[in-house]
């Protein structure tokens, strides 16, 4: 019942956000010529999920991101949270994020080369299993306190709404188990809003395609290629990013009890 209601909420919520975004964009006086820029980068990530109670998990993400290939440091992204497995196929997570952004042009005068941000975030994940294909819907909302690289600039609050649909498809086995190589795909749309957001509500659209491998009960790997299309900090400017991602997913079970999640329907 809850699962069905949430699905409806996601659908209508997403639709409303998209329509509002389009309306806002048309309302602005946009330059006639569009500019596109290509960039590349490497994103290394460590994901952790440690079970501390039967339905409670510590959640952590630790990212190191570069730009211009691997020449320049881009971000260190630290995300922390607590996940609650509400039902077998529905999980709620909330927590804080503390990313550090490196200035794209550190030679600019009067700037801070590294600027931290402070976020809170909430997330819902709906899981839909098929015969072999596993489908995940993820809705993430973030409240971001961030500022410009200019020294002394104030922190301002904005909001980000993210929807991600991802899929795993086991390739060498029929199911996701130890030793499985699986195909991994996702697309995630980032929409931002708030006082500081004037024209670039559609912040980013990321598409990822790669492979994963389940090494053992604690460790999984994923690697792949991610393409993102986003605004490049000014009207009529866009950026195509080509990013190689390598992620390690680590989980531990401190609860130690045998899983009884079947009872959580």
């Amino acid at each position: 019942m809850i699962y069905s209601l949430m699905k409806r909420l996601i659908f209508f919520g997403g639709l409303t956000v998209i329509l509002l975004t389009h309306a806002c964009l048309y309302a602005q006086d946009l330059p006639r010529e569009k500019e596109f820029r290509n960039s590349s980068g490497l994103w290394l990530g460590l994901y952790t999920k440690y079970r501390i109670k039967e339905k409670l998990f510590y959640y952590g993400e630790y990212h190191l991101r570069t730009r211009n290939g691997i020449e320049d440091m881009a971000q260190i992204y630290l995300r922390f949270g607590i996940s609650y497995l509400h039902t077998k196929y529905f999980e709620i997570t909330g927590g804080i994020v503390n990313p550090y952004y490196w200035a794209p042009d550190p030679t600019r005068p009067n700037i801070d080369k590294v600027v931290p941000q402070y976020h809170t975030w909430e997330q819902l994940i709906f899981f839909t299993p098929f015969e072999r294909l596993k489908l995940y819907h993820q809705i993430r909302i973030e409240q971001r306190w961030k500022r410009d690289y200019t020294s002394g600039s104030p922190y301002e609050l904005d909001h980000r709404f993210r929807y991600k649909i991802s899929a795993y498809y086991p390739l060498n086995r029929h199911r996701l188990e130890i030793g499985t190589i699986f195909g991994s795909f996702y697309e995630e749309i980032f929409i931002q809003a708030g006082k500081p957001v004037i024209y670039n509500h559609l912040e980013d659209n990321r598409i990822f395609l790669g492979f994963g491998y389940i090494l053992n009960e604690s460790i999984q790997f994923q690697t792949g290629y991610m393409y993102t299309f986003r605004h490049d900090g000014a009207p009529n400017k866009y950026e195509n990013r080509y990013i190689v991602r390598f992620s390690v997913f680590h989980n531990l079970d401190f609860f130690k009890g045998k899983s009884s999640t079947e009872d959580t329907h």
Partner: protein
């Protein structure tokens, strides 16, 4: 008829006209009722011929018999008892003395029942015996049978030590011959297989023929050893053996439907006294022993041949059973099927074929028998393998399930995420060591070792189930570094 001291003595005349059987007697009775001088008898034969018979006695010793047809000059039988004459003529002969004792009407110093000396006396003696009984019945004064006892005398022979030794030798030889013959005749395998070879058929028939001789010879020999033999003339008695010990023995037998004859010629051809009889029987015993050895050898060959034949049949039967068994078995898993097929191929084809070739090329019974038994063992070991192999793989599934637990994978949301408990122990023992043991089993070429390998695998599996419930943290920590299967076994206390 005259009597002296109540015993018949002197002239004896008697006539029984009109009575049957009719007999006229005219003779003289000497001391002890011994018949003396000429005795004349007249009697009729069953075909009414009147015979006149003249017997000449000397102190009870019968010297001659002459038979004529009464009223004619025709002599129908003349029989001179030469040996008696000779012995009486030389009363000093060493070891022989006359006995003035009445031994009855029939004069017999060892002639034997079929001898002419006895046959010639038979008719008159029977009738005279009847006559004397009638006389005894007629007069109560003569009721005591001894009063009318008319008879003949005998010689008494001293048996020398050498003769005694020879008689014992004869008895011993005959006993051995009897035992040999009886043994051979009672071989059931020979009764069935006497047509196995020409020689065996001949030997079998020879023993059969010989067996028929033995009772007669034994009977004659029994008399040699009896107390009465001292009244028997050895030179006469020995003649009775002659028909049993011919110069050569011919045996007629049938082999493959063809009648054949084999002859054995003896070195001692003439048997004329106890000594030569002893020598001859010793020679016969030696010959029979040779034949017996041959028969035994042949029987041995037959037994061996039959044993091999039985083994071959058993092997063929086991092989058929095994092939049917392997065809009928359908293990659940590829691993079990592959292992069973591999072992079948290795042992039922390669190893068995090698043994089969060695068996075919071997000529020695012992080697052949050993090889046949080994082939049977291979087949029987193989026959026992499929259920054991299937059980091993089924048990391995049970172990894997026991070591597997279901967890929740928080990234993939897989609530049925299978993980192995005691992973290091499982990997080293249930995977690495188990596979090593399977490989050892698969590469084994000695069928006698297969059982040991299977027992070791089962032991490992039992140990793995035990360890599941034990605290194995130290063991897991140590075992992770081990690669040598023997070290792993040692750590698991196998």
């Amino acid at each position: 008829m005259n009597f002296a001291d109540s015993k018949i003595s002197g002239p004896f005349h008697f006539n029984t006209p009109g009575e049957k059987p009719w007999l006229t007697v005219d003779g003289t009775v000497g001391t002890n009722g011994l018949m003396e001088n000429v005795w004349t008898f007249k009697y009729t034969t069953p075909d009414s011929v009147v015979i006149e018979e003249y017997r000449n006695y000397k102190n009870g010793f019968l010297l001659s018999i002459v038979k004529k047809i009464a009223g004619t000059p025709d002599t129908i039988q003349t029989l001179a008892f030469d040996i008696v004459n000779k012995r009486l003529a030389n009363p000093e002969t060493r070891g022989v003395k006359t006995i003035a004792k009445n031994f009855g009407l029939t004069f017999d110093i060892g002639y034997g029942n079929s001898a002419p000396e006895l046959a010639a006396q038979q008719t008159v003696n029977e009738r005279l015996e009847i006559l004397l009984e009638k006389l005894a019945d007629m007069d109560t004064a003569l009721s005591h049978r001894d009063h009318l006892k008319i008879g003949t005398a005998k010689f008494e022979f001293e048996i020398s030590e050498e003769q005694k030794i020879n008689i014992r030798s004869i008895q011993s030889s005959l006993d051995s011959l009897f035992t040999l013959t009886e043994t051979v005749m009672n071989y059931p395998i020979l009764q069935i297989n006497n047509q196995h070879t020409d020689s065996l058929a001949a030997a079998w028939q020879f023993f059969s023929d010989y067996a028929r001789n033995l009772p007669g010879m034994q009977k004659l020999t029994a008399h040699l050893a009896s107390e009465k033999f001292k009244y028997t003339d050895p030179d006469i008695y020995i003649r009775h053996f002659q028909s049993y010990v011919p110069a050569e023995r011919s045996t007629t037998y049938v082999y493959n439907g063809v009648e054949k004859t084999q002859t054995i010629t003896y070195h001692t051809q003439e048997v004329h006294n106890i000594s030569t009889l002893s020598t001859r029987l010793t020679e016969e015993l030696a010959t029979m022993n040779q034949l017996y050895e041959y028969v035994q050898k042949e029987i041995h060959n037959i037994v061996q041949s039959e044993k091999l034949s039985d083994l071959e049949s058993e092997i063929a039967e086991e092989r058929n059973t095994l092939d049917s068994l392997f065809t009928a078995i359908h293990p659940q898993t590829d691993h079990a099927r592959n292992m069973i097929n591999y072992l079948h191929n290795m042992f039922a084809e390669h190893v068995f074929l090698d043994l089969q070739q060695a068996y075919a090329s071997s000529e020695n019974f012992s080697d052949k028998s050993d090889l046949a038994i080994e082939m049977l063992t291979v087949l029987r070991v193989l026959k026992s393998l499929p259920p054991q192999i299937i059980e091993i793989f089924e048990q391995q599934d049970i172990i894997r399930d026991a070591y597997t637990e279901t967890k929740f994978d928080p990234y993939t949301f897989n609530h049925d995420f299978k993980v192995i408990r005691k992973r290091r122990l499982y990997d080293k023992a249930a995977v690495d060591l188990f596979n090593h043991m399977l490989n050892t089993l698969r590469t084994e070429t000695d069928h006698k070792q297969l059982g040991r390998h299977i027992r070791e695998i089962r032991k490992l599996q039992a140990r793995l189930l035990e360890l599941l419930e034990e605290d194995t943290r130290r063991l897991e920590s140590k075992i992770r570094q081990k690669k040598n299967p023997e070290e792993i076994k040692k750590m698991l206390n196998l």
